[in-house]
Symmetry: C2
Subunit: 412 residues, 2 copies
Amino acid sequence: MKKVSEALGIVLEFSGKLGSETVSMDAALGRVLAEDIRANRDLPPFDVSAMDGFAVRSADLPGTLLIVEDIKAGDIPKIALEAGQCSRIMTGAALPKGADAVIRVEDAKQISADTVQMDIKTRPGHDVRLRGESMKTGDTVLNTGTEITPGAIGILATVKAKSFRVFRRPTVAILSTGNELESIDDPVDPCKIPDSNSHALMAQVQALGMTPRMLGIARDDPIELERHLRLGLESDVLLVSGGTSVGLHDYVRPTMEKLGIDMKFWRVSMKPGHPLAFGVLERSEGSRTLVFGLPGNPVSSMVCFEQFVAPSMRSMTGNTRPYHRTVTARLGQPIAMKPGRTEFVRVTLASDEQGYLAVPTGTQSSGVLLSMARADGLMVLPAECSGLPAGARVTVQLLDGTAFQDATGYIE
Amino acid sequence: MKKVSEALGIVLEFSGKLGSETVSMDAALGRVLAEDIRANRDLPPFDVSAMDGFAVRSADLPGTLLIVEDIKAGDIPKIALEAGQCSRIMTGAALPKGADAVIRVEDAKQISADTVQMDIKTRPGHDVRLRGESMKTGDTVLNTGTEITPGAIGILATVKAKSFRVFRRPTVAILSTGNELESIDDPVDPCKIPDSNSHALMAQVQALGMTPRMLGIARDDPIELERHLRLGLESDVLLVSGGTSVGLHDYVRPTMEKLGIDMKFWRVSMKPGHPLAFGVLERSEGSRTLVFGLPGNPVSSMVCFEQFVAPSMRSMTGNTRPYHRTVTARLGQPIAMKPGRTEFVRVTLASDEQGYLAVPTGTQSSGVLLSMARADGLMVLPAECSGLPAGARVTVQLLDGTAFQDATGYIE
């Protein structure tokens, strides 16, 4: 049985970034740049005003100045300032020759149509943005490997990069297995278990910005299973839900091995989720499929996805922040546990003046999906932990959004 | 000039949730339920095994038991256990009559084809999941107002809710204004400013799961501006970038007033971003457009979006967590500031054993979009703050993802 960190290490070893493709700006959010982006201009293009106000010679202040020009953003100033002169200027407009500072409109008192009184001192450069302060032509403004956030989109628009290279996102197929499963399209049969896993996994993949291919349910029949697995192996990632425990009726393991999938591990020392399998099929030079055998239990399946599949898929997209963001919290109630496996406890987060309080979401029975839907995060309890008192400092992985970081952030 | 909390209160007063619409499960992630979802079955449908192992009569243990049946998930057990008997059972399979506990396969030693030795004690209910433990027919499993997370999708799939009512998302239009702006499709003109705001705003809207309508650039001409504004006023939200400062060449304000937009405020006491305007056009009974006049400065525009527009739009979708999640951090370096306005300082977050360390991202000059692209969050410094030493405890709003919470989480 592998430790969580060991298992994660193996998974990430095979989760190198994929090739690149061109994407247009409006479809680029969340992708990762596969090329350096360079500035195509100086910004600001001249020394410009940072405020609406008056361009002045700083040495003239305090004083009453003659307004010699109105300069709007986009105008080229015509009049060089001489002693005792100023120009009315808009934010972003070019400073006239002679000016070295800007006085904001709130700090100036207009005393006639063309004179303004300023009672304050200033210094050269005050409220002036210098040419090239934001970017200089040819500068690399965004590096390969940068995640495309809204701020990055702003920069791409600034340099008119309407399309650019990003790393490809993995294609993902989802397969459920088991005779006991009932598809969402089947009528209710109390002897069967509704297949929730493939839909929850779909949503987990969607939350990463990707669209999975849904392969449905393969029955416990080696031929049907093999046919489904072959379809799934055309993708970069294949998620197989259920069927990887040690039970007698398990057709999955022999079929996976028959298909040439090199299984790296079958169990991980964690709770929930220890029957987690991982294998690799090398399809051709530089092209492989990662196969995750996720536990059939709905909560275990979701927890294993977030611990292993999400970091793997984010790494494949070139993202250097594959792990869910963690926060520190105080434990809201004492908790007992059996040492031995790393536990991921579903919690809600409440806030008080001392920070976050983590409270386990009702029953932690791994069958109870409601506790997962209600959780803000997973509290990670190290394997050697045998319980914690209320108020203990704990690490909580955020699951209520898409904040990620560059290290797991917890002690196993 | 409004305080941030005052301005936010006014915005949210007009950001009530919109009507509802039907959505299919595969397009529902991130939406908010507009109906209660009820269980259509008991789960588990019977008392079932939580493990692969042996169904036993707890009173028989420790002991050597006769295996009388193999029960797979989906089977109906045929043989009631008598003293000294057990059934081999799979996870999720129904317990046979007479059985009251399950011994996992690891804790049993098979000593012949049909006998198994168990050296441990157990108690009734051990590794058994009781009928209806997860859900009972008719129970409300998800309430109106629940955000649809992957866990919620799992529950919706469990009860076969293939489509359901969710609150409508606002339609959003984005308009840039100003003669100085150069569109992404124009050639570079050093006298002009590339329009990055409308693209960054596009991405900010996309990050909330919505697709904006891009209205392009309106020049400083009252007729052109009015025409563009009228188009934008067909949406639930209209974002107007630039043009709302107090400058001479501002056509936006009179045109907005002419169009019947009831302007609620024009400035907010924050940095960056104080020239932030907000107005409401009541179009008809229960139908209105919220108009945000965002600062022309790219960073200010982005910060104002996250502080005001994102909470407004999330509230309209029925989400009760409109605010970006905050974390506590230590300040990585001393910081000086002028008291008077609430400051939102762009920071990166690093981790050490004491938690997060917040470090301002280089220049905080509001023109420098790079510092926004690099930021993990915004450190919020209260208005009365006149500076902080290194190591001071600060509040940081996460911007590197989509984690949200139900309160702003900072002191203004």
